[in-house]
Assembly symmetry: C3
Homo-oligomer: 357 residues x 3
C-alpha cells in the first residue's frame, strides 16, 4: 500500500483504502494471526488535549498487534515541552518510537509534525480540522455492512455545522458515485456550504431536509451525531434544538429492516436507550471496527515504514501567509508557509484554509 | 472455579475461594510458571476516581501474567464520557478488553457495569460499598499464615464505623465458624450494627472493647485500620481519637509471639515506625499477597471467560425503587430497578440497601 | 559491573562507567539483540513531580528491552500516599517491581528510597540535587563522539548558577585529566564556587568568560543550557540576560568544523532554529543516546540485581542533623541522620549539604 503519514483520509487513494479495508477485515476475522505482528515495535501517543476514547482505541490496537505504547495524555502535558517547539518534541519522540500518533487542538499540527518526523505520523485529530481514523472507522463499517460505496442512500442527522466527523465522511464518500445523501438538520446547524458544493460537483444526489420523518424510510444508513451543549449560547437554545432529532423506537418503525444506524460516539440523549437493542443499531460494532481498522493502519505503517529517513525536500516557501488564527503556522513561527493548489485555488497546506495569493 | 464477574467477595463460594487461594499460593511459589499465562490478553482499568495503589496492584498482576493493560486513572477522565452513560462506556470497552477492572465512587456501579459487559468485570471499589479484592488480599494472607479460617482470635482496631475494609472482612469470615472477634474502637467509631448482628447469628464469639490493652495478649490476628482525618469535624476531635489506638513496640510486648499484624495500607501514624521491624508485622507481605491473589483472579476470569456472551436475562423490573442517593440506580436512569431477597427482607441488587416493598 | 542503586553519577567508578558505556554502544549498534533482554521484568516509575520527557525516555528504554512499565506520573499522585511515608511506598512498590525509577522534588529522596528498597533504585532527579542519568547521557555522547575524556576543550554556556545538569557534568569530568573548561555566563549566573573549586583541585584548566565569542573557536564541545524564565525576578531581567548567549549560525562560523553542540533539552530560544540543520548540532542524537545509556543501565541493574535482599545495616545515627530545609531528612522524620566524610569535612549523606558537627 505504501502509506506513510496519515494526515487526511483523502491522502489515501481509493486503491490503498481498498487494500487497507481488506487487511482490516482479515484482522477482524482472525485476530490471533496478528497478535505478534508488531512485536517489539513502539507507538508514541502525543495527546496535547485529552481524548481518552481515541487514545484507548489506538492503544488497544497496538497492544493487540503485540506492540507497546508510551506517551502522554492530557493538557498538563504542556509540561512536556516547557516552551519547546512541536518540531523539537517530534524529532526527539521519533527517535524513540516506530510510529507516532498525535492529537493537538491546533489545525494543521499533524501535518507540521510530519515534516520533522523520522517515523510515520498518524493524525488523531487536529482541532476542528481532520480526524482521519474516525473517517476510516465509518468507511470500514459501511464496507463491512454493504460491501460497496455506491447506490447507497445515506442520511446524516444532527449538528451538521460543527461536526468534523460528518464533513470528513461526506468528503470521503464524495470520491464515489451514485449515492443519495440526506442532510437532516435545523437551519441553524446546516452543513457548511463548502461540503454541499463539493458534493454537488459529483455524480451524487443531495437533499437537505429538516426532519428525520421526511426521509428515514428511504435510508440505507442513518448517521446520527451528538448536538454538543457547548455549541449553544443558552440552555434554552440547546433544549429546543437537541430534542428535535432524537431517534426513538417509534421512528425506527418507519425505517427499512436492513438500514443501519451509525454514530461516532459518545452519544448522550440523541438516541433513546431502547434503540440500542434494535439489531439495526450498529454503533457499538462501529466502535469495535475502529479498533480493527486502526490495527490495519498501524500494521501497515509500522511494518513497511519504520525508521524512514527524514523528509529532505520541503515545498518552496511561499509569500502568502495563512490568515487562519487557529492554524499551526501561526503558532509555531519556524514553520515555512506552504501552499497547495486545487482547481486553480490556493490553500494552506497545513490547515486547508483558502489563501489569497 | 467458573468465576465470572467479581462484584462482592461473598458471591464467590467457599469452595471457589479455596481453589483461588490454592492458585494464588502456586503463583506465589513459582511466579515464573505463570509469566506467559495471559499473554496477548488485555485488561482495561476504568478508574472513575483515582486510587493509584489499587491500580498499580492490578496492573502489576496483569503484567506479571504476561498481559497488557490500558485504561484511565483519574477524575479528569470524566472527559472520558462527555456525558456518556456507564452502559455505553462498558459496551465499548468490553469490545476492546479481555477483562475490565472498574472503580467508581457510586455504590453499585460495578454490578451495573456487569449487566452490559461482554467480558468479566472486577469490582475495584464502588464508593463505600464493596472492594472484594482487598478482602481477598486479607483472606489470602490469613490462609497463608494459618492455613485455616477457624479457631482464630481476631482483633479489628481503629475506625470500625467507616471502614469498608473491616466490614467486608467480617462478612467474609462470618461464613466460617469457631472464631473469636474483638472489635476495638471508641464509642463514636463502633462497628455498624448490621455487621455485629450478622456475626452474632453465626457460630462465632464477639466482644466489643474500647482499648487494645484489654485483648492484645489473646489475639492471633490484629487488623489495624487508619483513622481518616476527613471523617472528623474538627482537628481536636481527630487528635483525641487518633492517638488512642496507636500500636507501639511497648504494646507489642503483650502480644503472642506468633500473632500477626495486618493493615490494608496506606498507614499514617496508627502504627509506630519501629513496629515495622517486628517480624509479626505482616502488612507489607499482605500488600505483596494482594498482587498474587489478583494474579490468581485475573488468570481465572481471563482464561476461562474471555469473550463471553452478553448477559441475556435480567431480573424482572421491580416496583420498588432504591432510596439510597449514592446508589448507581439513582444516577444512571436507564438501569432497571432490581431486588434480591435474603431472609425475607428485600435489598437493592446494586447497592444492597434495604428496600421497603 | 555490579552496580546496584544509582543515586549519584559519581557513585559509579570510572571502570564501571567504561563497561556501561561499552554496553550502551553495543545496544545502540544492535538494538535487536537486546529486545528480549528484560522480558518479564517490570520497572516502576514513581514520579512525584511531572517530567514527561525523562519518564518517556525511561519507559521507552525498558520497552525496547522487552520489559514492562507501571507507575505514576504527576503531582496529583500525592493521592498515591494519602500521607504515607516514602518508606512505606518504596517497600510496597519494590515488592511489585524489578527496578524502581524515582523522581522527587525533595533533595536526597532517591537515596532515602534506596535504604528501604528490595530492588535497585534509579534516581531520575531529586530536586536541584542530582540527576545521574542526564549526566550519563552527556558522558555517553562525549564518549561516542570523541572516544575519550581527556585533551578536550569544553565550553559550558548559559545559566551556570542554577543548572543542576552542568554542575553534575563538571563533577563527572573532574574525575579525568588534561581537559580545558570555559565557563561562559554573566556575572549573575556564574558557576557556583564549589564547582569551580572542585575543578581547580584537579589537573584541568579552567577559564571563566562572559561571551561565547571569546572562546567558541577553541572548543571541541559547546554545552548550551536553557535560561529558565522562572529564575528571574522580572521579565526585563530575563530578556536582558537570555538574549546574550543565543547561539546563531553566524557565531557557528567561528567554531571548529568538528566541534559538537550539546544541550540537555528542551531548548527554547537559546539556539536559533537554523543551527538545528548544522551537522555539528548533536542534541537530538544526545537525546537518543539518553535512551541507549538508560537501556544499558536498566539492563545492568535488572539482570544482575533483581530481588536483592533488604539492606541490613545502616550507618550509625549521627548527632548532627542536616539544616537544609529542602533535604528529605527534614521531611520524613523517621529517617536516621547520616553523615559522610570527604577531605575532613562532613556532609549529609542524603543531600550532600555540609554539616557542622
Amino acid at each position: 500500500m505504501d502509506i506513510r503519514h496519515v494526515i487526511d483520509f483523502n491522502d489515501i487513494t481509493p486503491e490503498q483504502w481498498d487494500a487497507l479495508c481488506a487487511l482490516g477485515g482479515e484482522i477482524k476475522a482472525s485476530p490471533r494471526d496478528f497478535e505478534r505482528a508488531c512485536e517489539h515495535k513502539i507507538m508514541a501517543t502525543l495527546f496535547y488535549e485529552p481524548s481518552t476514547r481515541t487514545q484507548l482505541s489506538f492503544q488497544t490496537a497496538m497492544m493487540r498487534l503485540g506492540g507497546k505504547v508510551m506517551g502522554f495524555a492530557d493538557p498538563s502535558s504542556s509540561s512536556v515541552s516547557k516552551g519547546e517547539t512541536l518540531r523539537d518534541t517530534v524529532k526527539i519522540i521519533s527517535a524513540y518510537s516506530d510510529v507516532t500518533v498525535i492529537r493537538n487542538p491546533v489545525e494543521g499540527a499533524a501535518y507540521a509534525a510530519s515534516l520533522y518526523s523520522r517515523v510515520p505520523i498518524i493524525n488523531a485529530g487536529d482541532g476542528g480540522h481532520l480526524h482521519p481514523t474516525q473517517t476510516m472507522t465509518d468507511m470500514f463499517t459501511i464496507q463491512q455492512n454493504f460491501g460497496r460505496y455506491q447506490g447507497l442512500t445515506i442520511g446524516l442527522c444532527g449538528d451538521l455545522l460543527n461536526g468534523r466527523t460528518v464533513h470528513s465522511l461526506v468528503r470521503a464518500l464524495s470520491r464515489y458515485e451514485g449515492n443519495t445523501f440526506y442532510f437532516i438538520s435545523t437551519a441553524e446547524l446546516k452543513m457548511p456550504s463548502y461540503v454541499t458544493e463539493l458534493l454537488r460537483k459529483t455524480n451524487n444526489t443531495l437533499y437537505e431536509v429538516e426532519t428525520l420523518d421526511e426521509c428515514i424510510s428511504r435510508l440505507d444508513i442513518l448517521y446520527m451525531t451528538r448536538i454538543q451543549r457547548e455549541r449553544f449560547k443558552t440552555a434554552e437554545d440547546y433544549a429546543k434544538q437537541s430534542g428535535i432529532y432524537i431517534l426513538t423506537a417509534e421512528k425506527m418503525k418507519q425505517a427499512k429492516s436492513d438500514m443501519i444506524i451509525l454514530h461516532p460516539l459518545p452519544k448522550v440523549d440523541e438516541i433513546d436507550y431502547d434503540v440500542d437493542d434494535d439489531p439495526r443499531a450498529r454503533y457499538f460494532e462501529q466502535a469495535e471496527n475502529g479498533m480493527y481498522i486502526r490495527m490495519a493502519l498501524i500494521h501497515e505503517v509500522c511494518i513497511n515504514n519504520s525508521r524512514i529517513a527524514m523528509p529532505g525536500a520541503y515545498p518552496a516557501p511561499s509569500p502568502a501567509y495563512c490568515r487562519n488564527p487557529r492554524c499551526i503556522s501561526n503558532h509555531e513561527k519556524y514553520l515555512p508557509p506552504m501552499i497547495k493548489e486545487t482547481d486553480g485555488h490556493h490553500f494552506c497546506a497545513y490547515c486547508d484554509h483558502k489563501l489569497k495569493v
